[in-house]
Symmetry: C2
Subunit: 159 residues, 2 copies
DNA sequence: GGGCTGTTACTCGGATACAGCATGTCCGAGTGCTTAGGG
DNA sequence: CCCTAAGCACTCGGACATGCTGTATCCGAGTAACAGCCC
């Protein structure tokens, strides 16, 4: 799985923690926060913008903001933004090749059983991710480390 | 996702359909059945053998057999055999880099909230796949296309 | 002093290289069948 | 006719090329702030 998913989730949380005054945060600052290569992070951020999770304001004092509150962003949204909407398992219909080619008994419409099984698994995955909002994740993180938001804002002010 | 997963599942079903007399089936025959490149298919088959799903018998008249009945092989087994046992999402702990580095308040033991959320999703995926045996998949395939096993064996005898 | 305009510095955005892994291929080791020869 | 042994054809198994997607980078377009100048 693309590691940009981890970046995207953490960035969204950080944008929430830092963005209480609705000031956009630049790629440079975000990258410094996590010691990530700024240009590549910028690329991932553009994916978030295209997916409608974040908004970008160009120009000086520009940067990124969350497009909507954390309660309305699910983990599935972040994954779909980075990885793309296509399912991970792609059925190539090998059952039709070779021996199964001339099976013209209406099997064209019947979905492949293997593909169906994989799709059920992937559906469970998507559902589990869609049930978790970033607000839940933030609450869990702050429960694990109280005062985390304050600490991060302090670091942000120092640098 | 590796397309070998699709191959592996179909191959296991085919080994069951063709292997009623417990005769091993060679890579050449399996590859011809699905019009797949034989050497590469052989590579995937070795993964199934290493995972204990299939057994190989070398020498003339050699080939592959299922190591256990379809009822005891789950879709998760096949995926793990091909893709490997590592989880798809790898947490790189970027929360510790930069601003979060000196958070020595025992947070070392607390798992990353983002990672936990992703892990819950992946667990749902693994569980859903583990609940489906290849016997279930075979039953679904035969329900969709009655007489499928007979048809495949007939093709196997002709060629 | 207030307003306007040109400059400047900073930011996003897409176009451009590099690398690691999935994909695809090849040849050698090993095994069982076949067949020819001898008893 | 039966047994034995050598040859052979076929198969798996791991080592070797190739292409593509993910990773990483750079430079240009655009915008807001700022400073200087004119009224």
């Amino acid at each position: 799985m693309n590691e940009g998913v981890e970046w995207g989730a953490h960035i969204c949380l950080l944008l929430d923690w830092l963005g209480e005054d609705r000031q956009p945060v630049s790629t440079t600052r975000l990258a410094a926060h996590f010691e990530l290569p700024p240009p590549y992070l910028n690329k991932q951020l553009q994916s978030l913008v295209r997916a409608g999770i974040a908004t970008s304001t160009p120009g000086a004092r520009g940067g990124f903001r969350l497009a909507r509150p954390l309660e309305k962003i699910t983990m599935m949204d972040v994954v779909a933004a980075i990885e793309g909407p296509e399912p991970a398992f792609q059925c190539t219909e090998i059952r039709r090749r070779g021996a199964g080619r001339d099976s013209a008994d209406g099997a064209s419409d019947v979905p492949c059983a293997v593909s169906s099984a994989m799709r059920r698994g992937e559906l469970a995955w998507r559902r589990a991710l869609a049930e978790q909002t970033l607000a839940d994740v933030k609450a869990e993180a702050e429960a694990n480390a109280p005062g985390l938001g304050t600490k991060l804002r302090a670091w942000h002010d120092r640098n």
